[in-house]
Amino acid sequence: MARAEPPAATFERRVLRSAAEHHYLRVRLELPDGGARPSVAQFKQLVVSALRELHGEVGAALPVDVLIYEEKTLSAILRVISSGLVKLWSALTLLGFYQNRRCAFRVLQTSPFLLALSGNSRELVLD
């Protein structure tokens, strides 16, 4: 079937479906002052226990990795399978206690690309 010659394409539309395998989250754990700070293993355990509480054994079985964890600032970068992003995010949000003390997770940034977490425009200091 002959198609009418379209006018010279002025633009081309490209659609990127979210096909990324993983999502990355930069999170910060907020603890009251003077409390014990979790080590890397305890941090991972905290994340898994949050998942287990909200989403049960199925949630606890989600592949979640802690890529970077800084004990000093309590910030971390998590990697999770894309289909489990909502589960992980909701579980982190609803976590309220660490060792019977109040705590909170702040999700600072989230992206399907790790490179996007290298900078944060909200923390830019403009002259």
């Binding site: 287990r52 509480e53 909200l54 989403h55 049960g56 054994e57 199925v58 949630g59 909701s90």
Partner: protein
Amino acid sequence: MVRFKNRYVLCEVVSEDPRCRQCIEERAVGLAVRDAIGRVHGDYGLACCSISFTVKYLNAYTGTVLLRCRKDSYRLLCSALPFVRQLESRAQRYPCFLNTLHIGGTIRTCQKFLIQYNRRQLLMLLQNCTNEEERQCIQKSLLSCSITEEQSHSGDEEDDDGTETD
């Protein structure tokens, strides 16, 4: 107005222990299923399934259970059913498991399926029976079950009493 759509899950309780029959009651089955959902899917799954979750029909003699839940969350319920491992009632617990037979949108379709299923089971029993007395007994119940079906067709949809003995 749009009606709330439900899913009805028809299961049978399978147990090695014949004493398990006496502990098949609505409360025990409901609690066991809720417990399994809470274990497998956590607070979120339990809350999703708890909306309009009930044990709609239960036959302790044949071990048939009909569960109801919202259409949105029946996958959560079905995936948790294999994790029911025991029934507990009156401080006694018996190991058993739930075998899912059918998932339907109305009680009526589940009832139809159950009648067909039980008739097939009777035919299988008929093939496997060894002496003449058994054969006649099963043939009699086969005939009686077709009569039960006729009656149940005239009944209304919410009529749960459509199963025949086997």
